[in-house]
Amino acid sequence: MAAPKPRVKVPKTASAGEVITIKTLISHNMESGQRKDKDGNPIPRQIINKFTCEFNGQKVFECDLDPAISANPFFEFSAKVNESGTFKFTWVDDDGSVYSSENQIEVK
């Protein structure tokens, strides 16, 4: 598997109090742990187990992921922005790796 790569789509600007749509996607195999390789040995589970989104340090969205979620998990959600700041997205892998992305938004 190529290294998981997070992708995020957040508008660059918004008006105060606007509800914006955020889309996120991370390329990841989401190996469920239920499959076997061709010799019959179980393939160990390796999935993204947690996703969070923070805005200026305040939690906006968080969820746990389970093995039935398909590869390349995609999340779309909305958030209300009152001030300029930074969205921070993190994905936590079963192997302990944390992938993150930061996106600025300017409120006009």
């Binding site: 889309k23 390349n72 995609f74």
Partner: protein
Amino acid sequence: MKKTVVISALAAALACVGVAGPAWADPVDEQLVIDGETMITRAKAPEGHPFDEVLSGWLFRTVETRALETDSFTNPGMLEVEEGEAIWNKVEGSAGKSCASCHGDAAESMKGIGAHYPKWDAEAKRPINIELQINKCREQNMGAEPYDFDKGGQKQLTAYIKRQALGEPVSIDLSQGDLQSWWEKGKDLYYTRTGQLNLSCASCHEANMGKMIRADHLSQGQINGFPTYRLKNAGLVSVHNRFRGCIRDTRASFPKAFSDELMALEVYVTWRGSGLSVETPAVRQ
């Protein structure tokens, strides 16, 4: 009074059934806009075409499938297009070159290119498509092994190159070399019934276009969006794979990818979609 109500309710129910039948099978009348750019999904057919209007397969898909294609962020095929971009920049072979070493930025050098293949290959004296062009480049210029069919990064790199032609109307120049005679051969194949089910391409995609074949809505079978992301495969599907799959479904033995038969068919089927925008990677069922 009560009776009238029942009768009118029944009439309304019947009217619904009447409307729902044909409406369900017709292609939708909608505009495909990808990242703000309008695609041509209905085009006037070229002269000698059996239809008056050529229609993109996008018009035949469900509302959810159609929506996936309108934003390159939600289009699952774009992940593989990104892989294609990485291959474009990767040095391979004895000459120490990547695609980018000669062609630079694909956004410029490959802009619109994918809409005008297959072309005539004067050296090989047969049509050449993007997959074969990549292989030719790999062998002659990079000193690298050509890709086996659908292997290595063939689909991804092809999709990346064709993506640079997004929106460009498909048109091929049949006056190149012997391309016209390959077109004729492709046309013969298109109308030849094969397999235990005795079906030709035209049986489904021409005679019954717009109707349901069990749960599937038959389109015109255009290839303007290939390599296409198929939800069924959860990955890109190349045009020769699709041809082989279709022929297999008629329960016939099917020709090899890039064989003379399938190259001729690609020339002819590409021409049948003349005027439609390249949608690579299209999203289909």
